[in-house]
Symmetry: C2
Subunit: 216 residues, 2 copies
């Protein structure tokens, strides 16, 4: 390793990568992905342009995908809730983390999840869909369901989509209602949707009687 | 029975345009927009290549946008329900038309509404968003609401997004559940979501007491 610029050597490859992704995410929070260049990232991170190119030789597209992957990883952690205590507070805590993520990245959240017009590809769509799928799997597991049927699956996926829509609208509306109210409201909607489906689907009825009824 | 050539002169400009858009839509129903060429459209419509170029000199992008606009127009008509009789059957009839549209265009519905990776632009996004906005406006008007507040707006927009998600999942699941069940289920979800919001929002509470309570 060439000891040309001493400050560079203080960070490990992983740390440097994280620093660059963090800088990129903060830029995506302000601008559409196609309006963020590697030069901008170098400037935001306070490093040289060649360094950014060394980490992301694939250019803008690679950087965007890496940033998306890193955000997706962070989002996945939001849903990583211990299987302990009553169900609805667990869901509430996961939503708290999710909404904190949304609030922190703000416009970048929309840009990342909707994909920029230039850089959206089947790969970026797959990353975002992976997060949705992970969220659904977490929910089935907390509900104690093995092999969710089509009606339960449709209900859970509709709710996840509705939560995404609510997050985007919430950002548009300058984070009104307050985050705590939004979280409780989303939990109540989850219960309401499951209750409606329970009338048509024995598996969902079982879930509502079991996992959800355990709330006090 | 393909008397292709003489038929040219029988169609007016508008009719010809519709015919070409219809052919394009049927192709988008089978393939991603970026995999449909003007040549394919010419072949599907049984007309010459130069004729298609004459109608869509802007090429593929123009054709795609025109097809999207035409589908959007058709979708708008789905929501055009007379203000007569109880509210929920009105919503049910609008959903029947919407789901018939979804079922008829099948894979093309996903392609059109999600935008192809190559051809998605802020303009195509605006066309799709315009349909969502029109659907929301129809709903407010049927609910008898002037100036919906943020909570009612968020609820209606979440439901519209959830309906879109349900349509895409429904196509994925080979149209299970049957369309009549899906329609009733979506109406019930609408009522459930409004009822949950009504606990937090006086305007929505008024709507639930008024328009929705009028159902028998």
């Amino acid at each position: 390793m060439t000891p040309a610029v001493p400050a560079y050597r203080r960070l490990s490859v992983e740390e440097r990568r994280s620093q660059l992704l963090e800088a990129a995410l903060s830029l995506f929070a302000l601008r559409a992905p196609e309006d963020v260049s590697l030069d901008d990232v170098a400037e935001a991170a306070g490093v040289s342009r060649p360094l950014v190119y060394r980490y992301f030789p694939g250019g803008k597209q690679q950087l965007y995908e890496a940033a998306l992957r890193s955000a997706a990883e962070e989002l996945r952690h939001c849903f990583d809730e211990p299987h302990e205590g009553p169900l609805l507070p667990r869901l509430g805590r996961a939503l708290d983390r999710y909404l904190a993520f949304v609030g922190r990245h703000d416009a970048g959240f929309s840009a990342l999840l909707q994909g920029g017009s230039v850089v959206e590809t089947s790969r970026t769509t797959a990353i975002v869909d992976g997060v949705r799928r992970a969220a659904a799997e977490h929910i089935y597991s907390h509900l104690g369901v093995n092999g969710p049927g089509p009606r339960l699956r449709m209900t859970v996926r509709m709710w996840i989509t509705a939560v995404e829509a609510a997050s985007l609208i919430w950002l548009d509306e300058d984070k009104d209602p307050p985050v705590g109210e939004l979280r409780d409201w989303l939990v109540e909607q989850f219960v309401a949707l499951l209750t409606v489906t329970a009338r048509r689907d024995p598996q969902t009825a079982e879930v509502v009687r079991g996992a959800l009824a355990a709330r006090t």
